[in-house]
């Protein structure tokens, strides 16, 4: 089932796009906007209420024996995907679907015709540990985004961790190329935060679905987040502009070289890849907002092993 991470990695890739490379997970996809996130508004009754075990256990057991393939009569549980805490349905309006599908195909071609071959060539020349180091470097540079958003979300513990990480990795991690802060001894996990998530935690809805060329899946809220975060990105202030853009494009190629095969797997598994990516994006963003503070188990990039 490993393949599933591809959903996310891919997502990260698509979402993050060039601009985003530095925070390699999806932290990139900041903006989400405020449309109908189709929420099951009412605070869902606790799972226990919804599915009194006494009733459903026998019901299910009976169903499985007598008529496994019979009709479904209890939708409460199934409709939620089976998780108690999942009050919000991960759905998104998609009024721009024709445009979005066109952009999806554009990004798909961009990947297969350009990004992938370039990344493969680059991967052949540069050994993996070096590429992991470069990835660490870009991640470290995006520190201001994570730090500021921790503060904006009033997560001071997270902000302190980020500050500690930045200090440790910059000083002892050779300017951010290594990631000693993630080692077991120091254990300062990266806090994946972005401005779109921050807006989400303020109660702003994601809005509708947009696929940007190059940047990938987004929403009005996440687009605002993306733009907001870009002001905290050092490359934004590099002049001339094409040097900064070039650096970001390089970060993107480097990242792709570490995740070749992920997008392909995602596509292979999907019945309708466009819808699959859209859904994965929405689920991922929604969960990220719900989990703020309790960071989804942080991604560790770690110290490259020689």
């Amino acid at each position: 089932m490993k393949a599933f991470r591809f959903y996310v990695l891919l997502l990260a890739f698509v979402v993050a796009g060039c601009a985003h490379r530095p925070d390699s997970t999806v932290s990139a996809a900041p903006a989400m906007a405020s449309l109908p996130v189709t929420q099951e508004a009412a605070p869902a009754p606790s799972p226990v209420q919804k599915e009194p075990p006494a009733r459903s256990a026998p019901a299910i057991a009976a169903a499985s024996k007598a008529d496994e393939f019979g009709d479904i009569t209890e939708f409460d549980d199934i409709g939620k995907g089976g998780e108690g805490g999942m009050a919000e349905k991960p759905e998104i309006a998609d009024p721009l679907e024709p445009f979005n599908r066109a952009m999806y195909h554009f990004n798909d071609k961009l990947y297969f015709w350009f990004l992938k071959p370039v990344a493969q060539g680059y991967g052949k020349v540069v050994p993996k540990p070096a590429r992991v180091s470069v990835d660490n470097f870009f991640t470290n540079l995006a520190f201001p985004i994570r730090f500021a958003n921790c503060l904006l979300q009033a997560d001071f513990g997270g902000a302190a961790k980020e500050l500690g990480r930045f200090t440790v990795n910059t000083v002892w991690g050779v300017g951010g190329f290594l990631d000693p802060a993630s080692s077991e001894e120091i254990d300062l996990a990266k806090q994946d935060r972005d401005f779109g998530q921050t807006l989400g935690t303020y109660g702003i809805g994601q809005g509708f679905y947009i696929t940007w060329p190059v940047f990938g899946p987004s929403s009005p809220r996440d687009t605002v987040g993306l733009v907001g975060d870009s002001f905290l990105r050092p490359f934004t202030y590099v002049s001339p502009w094409y040097v900064g853009t070039g650096a970001r494009a390089y970060g993107m190629v480097n990242d792709t070289s570490l995740s070749i095969g992920d997008y392909e797997a995602l596509q292979g598994a999907a019945i309708d890849p466009y819808v699959a990516i859209r859904d994965a994006y929405v689920q991922y963003r929604l969960k990220k907002i719900q989990l703020k503070g309790s960071n989804p188990p942080p991604e560790k990039t770690g110290v490259p092993k020689p």
Partner: protein
Amino acid sequence: MKRSIMLAIAIFLLLTLPAFAGAPLDTVQLNVNKGLDVLRDPKLKADSAKEAKKEKLRLIYNNLFDDVEMGKRTLSRNWNSLNTAQRQEFVKLFRQVLEKAYVDRILDYKDEKIVFDKESMVSDTQAEVYTRVLTSSNKEIPISYRTIKKDGSWRVYDVVIENVSLVLNYRTQFNDILSKNNPEHLLETLRQKVKGQ
């Protein structure tokens, strides 16, 4: 007399304990580890043993996963608009689609470590088991298994990777197809998917 009471209590405890001692996590851990054993089995390393490996993995999959439950949850309300024959075919095809999509990636598995963190009971008959996969490049991927208890044993009906639920993801796709087409069209799409590529 006293002895036999003690014995009865002991037997009672033995019989009942496993049912309460983190059964969902144990089930997942046991089967996932069995799967890893197959993947790492030096005897099955050769390319020619690929089919044998797949066959073994299928058996483990059968023990761990509940195809029908997964199919029901994936179709959700649409399940009822399929007739029984279509439902059976759907479950079969869906399974084949998943196998086809993921088996090669799973066979590539070797250096990864899996940490079984905890389980959380959603109700008496449902639980979520949280695990993390540590990859060779030192990345961590959270994976959780949603399980349901049927006839006394726990089976998995959904896998959530990096917060993306497999069932929900396919449900969105199938809903999209079924909102514009009839069930036969969906089945045909799946048949093509299984055949193609």
